[in-house]
């Protein structure tokens, strides 16, 4: 009964989404006020239906209803309730339901947030969102219905892939999807602007908070996913340039570019068509990412079971959504005129460089992700593209970006003089270089060539970001939240650069074979292997080792790396033990049983690694802080355009 109710509400949701799309887009075109007024009830009704449908799926999982194929294939009775709920998005069909649910939530938020905007524009935004939602609902019902029944029902279900049975995994898709789907709102704003032929500074100001919010969620989601990979995959990597990871990273890069380009469009009326294109591309990339992951054209360690029918459907959907948006762009964008010029060293050019470099980075990631596909499409044989391609090409565009950042945030709009900011900038650069060299050549010995460069750039970004807030504080000028948010996000980036550099440059690693009671040395740390004991978990059994870590004789940690064998799926996973000590991460992973109580162990000391994720959360927090700025709280619809250019204070971006 419950699964049928879920399916029924899903169909109702699809019909409401169709109404939302129709009234939202046709209403303004024919100037029918009543049609436009019907959009809001359609949005809220759709959200209620989708929520009910999702609730039915969750209920089927919690109740262990193995007559539902999707439940039987993704859950079993031994699974704790928490993971049964998380299993809803553990596989393809359910994660689509989650996607649609989040889109419905964003649509309601957009309906509330656009209330003060001109009616026709708001209605078009919701219309575009309705179209996206309709596409996904149709796709789900036609190719991946999670409510299909099994006859006869299975006595018990299969289990979640054991590496997916983890709080980090349970949590990261909802956050990541919130980010993905949030970009749909920026896309809808761009679509509405193009349909209406209206693209002014107001448009940019309305779009900014939505883009930043989606970007912040995307940052958190990627960080959580990477953190999960770090501690479950058991060998200490945090980023693998896997197609699924790239699928989330490319929209992030585009969204980052979009945030900066929107700033220029809002403040100076420049880059209009470019900003529009970025808004379309950011969401298009999340759709293409979905396609790559779901259609089975690219095989990845993360990918769900895939089928060509689904691929064909998504491709058709891509053509409709992206194709029409880009065609609209080709038609409307030539009409947009930039309002003013700027000098080469003005802030506009730095933001232009920022955009070019971010888009280049995104293009290199895209090329690397697509290369295997293109090569097999042209019958050039199987090709695999990995870190040896991604790392250097990505760095190539990131290094100049980081180097220009400090200059960019202190350059002025329109005219290119650093003025009184030149001195503190040079001073902070010197300080950063000293820190960089001191860390590389003093604290640690050796390291790679890029290590001093990376640390210097990271430190410079942090120090120079502080110049403006400190200056304002000294002169007792209040700092707008938008500026504070930007500063925080840039400091996050600086921390990120430093931590990545130190992890890549200074990680110490050793594979050892140890018997009970024997020790191994790594850096300043000593590892005493006490042996292994059998362990029993709720749905797995395995062995756990005890390793006592000391640093120059002082106890640091007792670590318990495990090797687990999950009963139902009979798969083995390695749960490495990771402990923080000061700023280093100590990692012990249990390897092979070498017989007679001897085991192979992998020991790692990774400096600053936790800061990688912390930095991502700082960046996201910065974004959220910026959104809360008063500027984005909308005055009534007919408010005049943003303050004249001359009155714009330095540092607001």
């Amino acid at each position: 009964m419950i699964p049928e109710l879920g399916q029924f509400t899903l169909i109702l949701a699809m019909l409401l989404a169709a109404l939302q799309a129709f009234f939202g887009m046709v209403g303004p075109a024919l100037k029918r006020d009543r049609w436009m007024a019907a959009v809001i009830p359609a949005v809220s009704g759709q959200c209620v239906m989708v929520a009910a449908s999702m609730g039915c799926l969750v209920a089927s999982f919690v109740a262990n209803d193995f007559s539902v194929q999707y439940v039987a294939e993704n859950s079993n009775s031994a699974l704790p309730v928490f993971y049964r709920v998380a299993a809803v998005w553990g596989s393809h069909s359910g994660s689509l339901i989650l996607w649609i649910f989040l889109l419905a939530c964003w649509s309601v938020a957009a309906a509330i947030g656009t209330q003060k905007l001109p009616k026709a524009f708001a209605s078009r935004v919701l219309g575009v969102l309705g179209l996206i939602s309709f596409g996904f609902l149709l796709y789900t019902l036609a190719t991946s219905n999670p409510f299909l029944r099994l006859d006869p029902p299975w006595p018990d279900g299969e289990s979640l892939n054991p590496i997916l049975q983890d709080p980090g995994l349970a949590g990261h898709p909802p956050v990541l999807y919130t980010g993905y789907v949030g970009l749909a709102v920026a896309f809808a704003f761009a679509g509405a602007a193009m349909l209406e032929g209206r693209l002014d500074k107001d448009w940019a100001r309305w779009t900014r908070p939505w883009t930043t919010a989606a970007w912040a969620f995307l940052s958190c989601g990627i960080a959580l996913g990477s953190w999960w990979a770090y501690y479950t995959l058991g060998w200490g990597g945090f980023w693998f340039w896997d197609p699924v990871e790239n699928a989330s990273f490319m929209p992030w890069l585009m969204a980052t570019a979009l945030i900066h380009s929107l700033a220029v469009t809002e403040k100076r009326g420049l880059f209009k068509s470019w900003t529009l294109l970025l808004a379309v591309l950011a969401f298009s990339l999340s759709l293409v990412g979905t396609f790559l992951v779901r259609s089975g054209v690219l095989v990845s360690v993360h990918s769900f079971a895939a089928s060509p029918t689904r691929g064909t459907f998504i491709l058709a959907f891509l053509i409709v959504m992206i194709g029409s948006a880009l065609a609209l762009y080709a038609w409307r964008a030539p009409l947009l005129k930039s309002e003013a010029g700027f000098e080469l060293t003005a802030r506009e050019s730095f933001l232009l460089f920022n955009n070019i470099l971010l888009v280049t980075a995104c293009a290199t990631v895209f090329a690397g992700t697509m290369a295997p596909l293109i090569s097999s499409a042209l019958n050039l044989g199987k090709l695999s593209v990995g870190p040896p391609y991604f790392n250097p090409t990505f760095l190539l565009s990131m290094l100049p970006l980081l180097a220009l950042l400090s200059l960019g945030i202190h350059a002025r709009w329109k005219r290119g003089k650093l003025g009184e900011r030149a001195r503190p900038l040079v001073l902070t650069l010197i300080a950063a270089a000293v820190i960089g060299c001191a860390v590389v050549f003093g604290l640690f010995t050796g390291g790679r060539v890029l290590a001093p460069v990376g640390i210097t750039l990271g430190a410079w970004i942090i120090l120079s970001s502080l110049i403006d807030p400190i200056d304002r504080l000294r002169r007792h000028i209040t700092i707008p939240r938008a500026v504070l948010g930007m500063t925080l996000a840039h400091i996050g980036l600086g921390i990120f650069v430093i931590s990545i550099t130190s992890v890549e440059g200074f990680t110490a690693e050793r594979d050892v074979a140890l018997g009970p009671g024997s020790t191994a040395q790594l850096g300043a740390y000593q590892f005493l292997f006490e042996g292994v004991q059998p362990i029993e978990g709720p749905n797995y059994s395995g062995v756990g080792a005890t390793v006592i870590v000391t640093r120059r004789g002082a106890p640091v940690a007792v670590m318990h790396p495990e090797k687990r064998q999950y009963w139902v799926q009979r798969t083995e996973t390695t749960a490495s033990s990771i402990k923080m000590y000061y700023t280093s991460n100590i990692l012990v992973a249990l390897g092979q049983d070498l017989g007679e109580g001897h085991w192979s162990l992998r020991l790692q000391v990774r400096p600053l690694v936790s800061f990688i994720w912390l930095a991502a959360f700082i960046m996201a927090a910065g974004g959220m802080l910026a959104i809360s700025d008063r500027r984005y709280r909308l005055a009534p619809a007919e408010e005049p355009a943003i303050s004249p250019v001359g009155a714009v204070t330095r540092g607001q971006a």
Partner: protein, 185 residues
């Protein structure tokens, strides 16, 4: 680039991308989703204890010289139970012997399951710790490999064998002269 033309570039690039993706989809149905690097290569050599008689060993050498289906299964695997009936039909057809790999299973469970449900296999090798399955690149059970008399893996089927898969994928790959062969265990 000048004038309006440059605004069409994104659309044109997207058009190209669609073509590539469409070709990608068109090619994917012929391939397995998890392409096996083993196809066209010799099957892994093995010598494993037999399930029915632990004192005996099942080795790849004994299997040389005739066609066989190498089926990876386990009593814990629900899809394998679903596949079991089809395996019994294949045994009845007598066209090709089934060699089972009892994967990460409990011996008692496996024997009692075969006693209740019937044993479609000519011989069953036991892979208690899963290391043999790794040699075959097994991703999940059930998976079935078609091996020719030279010991070369000809085909790999992922998931429970269906009537259609048997008729359309496996039978056509066998030589027409493949004579019905006794399949006692």
């Amino acid at each position: 680039m000048k004038g309006r033309l440059r605004f069409i570039v994104p659309l044109a690039v997207f058009g190209l991308l669609v073509v590539v993706l469409a070709i990608g989809i068109r090619q994917s149905p012929d391939k397995d989703l998890i392409p096996s690097p083993l196809i066209g290569k010799p099957a892994p050599e093995f010598s494993l204890p037999s399930l029915t008689d632990p004192s005996r060993r099942v080795s790849s050498e004994d299997l040389h010289g005739h066609w066989y289906l190498f089926n990876v299964w386990g009593t814990w695997c629900v899809s394998c139970r679903a596949e079991h009936e089809m395996l019994l039909k294949i045994k009845q057809a007598g066209v090709i012997p089934l060699v089972g790999l009892d994967w990460k299973d409990d011996r008692g469970d496996a024997l009692s399951f075969l006693k209740d449900a019937g044993n479609p296999y000519q011989t069953i090798a036991v892979d208690r710790d899963g290391s043999e399955a790794i040699m075959w690149g097994v991703y999940g059970a059930p998976e079935t490999f078609l091996v020719n008399p030279q010991g070369i893996v000809v085909y790999k089927y992922i998931g429970p064998i269906t009537q259609d898969a048997w008729k359309q994928q496996i039978l056509p790959r066998l030589p027409p002269t493949q004579s019905p062969r006794g399949s006692s265990s």
